[in-house]
Amino acid sequence: MSHFLIFLSAFLVNNILLMRFLGLCPYFGVSKKIDTAMGMSMAVFFVMLLASWITFFIYRYLLVPFDLIFLRTATFILVIASLVQFIELFLKKNVPTLYQALGIYLPLITTNCAILGTTFLIIDYNYTLVQATLFSIGTALGFALALLLMAGMREQIDLSPVPAAFKGAPIAFITASLTSLAFLGFSGLLGLSI
């Protein structure tokens, strides 16, 4: 049950975009169309799962035994950057169709704080490998849910009359605020708190 709670908490209650405020750049940057939002969500899902596994093992079996915890920030960001490069090369060679779909979003992920933030949170919460896996899957799905909701709403907003000063970014933030308010309702779910 507690494993299910970890998943649910990462997915809805502590949604990474709307409650934790991690990864806001892609949330506002690529949420203008549903297609691009879909591509970005898939790329994030892919990288987040691999990154959390790899950093989990590096932290537990390299940094902790050799007393190098202070290198955590530098190591994790380099691991993520090279992982993204590696995935890009691998997909380009072996799965060209998927590469076409994810192509331009992959490099952007290196500086996506959602990925790095998730790897830090897994360490901070002292999760086991199974818990870390569920946590990162839940987080990635929560990211996808929030991003797709936003993209769908922004496609509609483009067609609506918006006060001149609020065109573009400001109205997107107000939309995000209302979505976040709706997600706040999940905080009572199963007795989970923020």
């Binding site: 920030t73 530098a74 960001i77 380099l78 704080c113 000063a165 400001p170 933030f173 706040l184």
Partner: protein
């Protein structure tokens, strides 16, 4: 030279105009104290990474410049991370994961790539201070509004009447309030820009 300094504060304010580095702005701006702490950490990293990258720009090969920038930035982030953890643990706990996350803050990498890699040390230093103050200004503004409305205090001091403090607008301190406050700040900025033009 002075322009390097002022541009980052107003005309090209990284947060309110360019819309980068949003995550910490929304996450830690629940009180003025947290906002200023975050601002100081970002100014520290920005100045030192700008100066270092500008000083080393002749030795950094163009093809691998981004990984090199990231290593330089993460060094300074680790320094400020451990310093804050040792000397101001209370503030450090409030800021949480957002201190190590300065390493992926688009402002720091953006200034490294867009300015420090091309310009001299003094200009980069001023640009670092300017962009850092621009960030701090935005997060301070958010922190002030959210703390005043959300708890009726300013930097922990009682400002608004007791009656308000007993029933503050809690919504503003919760995550949706962060989005709402920055939406209105950006709306006001847009309006000012339009009326100027």
């Amino acid at each position: 030279m002075f322009k390097n300094f002022t541009e980052g504060i107003f005309k090209n304010n990284p947060v309110l105009v360019l819309m980068i580095g949003l995550c910490p702005i929304l996450a830690v701006s629940t009180t003025v104290k947290n906002s200023l702490g975050m601002g100081a950490a970002v100014i520290f990293v920005l100045i030192l990474s700008n100066v270092t990258i500008s000083g080393l720009r002749k030795f950094i090969p163009e093809n691998i410049r981004i990984p090199v920038f990231i290593i330089i930035i993460s060094t300074f982030v680790t320094i400020i991370d451990y310093t804050m953890h040792a000397f101001i643990p209370e503030l450090y706990d409030n800021l949480g994961v957002f201190v190590p996350l300065i390493v992926v803050n688009c402002i720091v990498l953006g200034r490294a790539e867009g300015f420090a890699y091309k310009k001299g040390i003094v200009a980069s230093f001023l640009d670092g201070i300017g962009s850092g103050i621009g960030f701090t200004f935005a997060i301070f503004l958010m922190g002030t509004i959210r703390e005043l409305l959300g708890s009726g205090t300013f930097y922990g001091f009682n400002v608004l009447p007791q009656g308000f403090q007993n029933n503050p607008v809690i919504f503003i301190i919760l995550p949706p309030g962060g989005f709402l406050v920055i939406a209105f700040l950006m709306g006001i900025m847009n309006h000012l820009k339009r009326s100027q033009a």
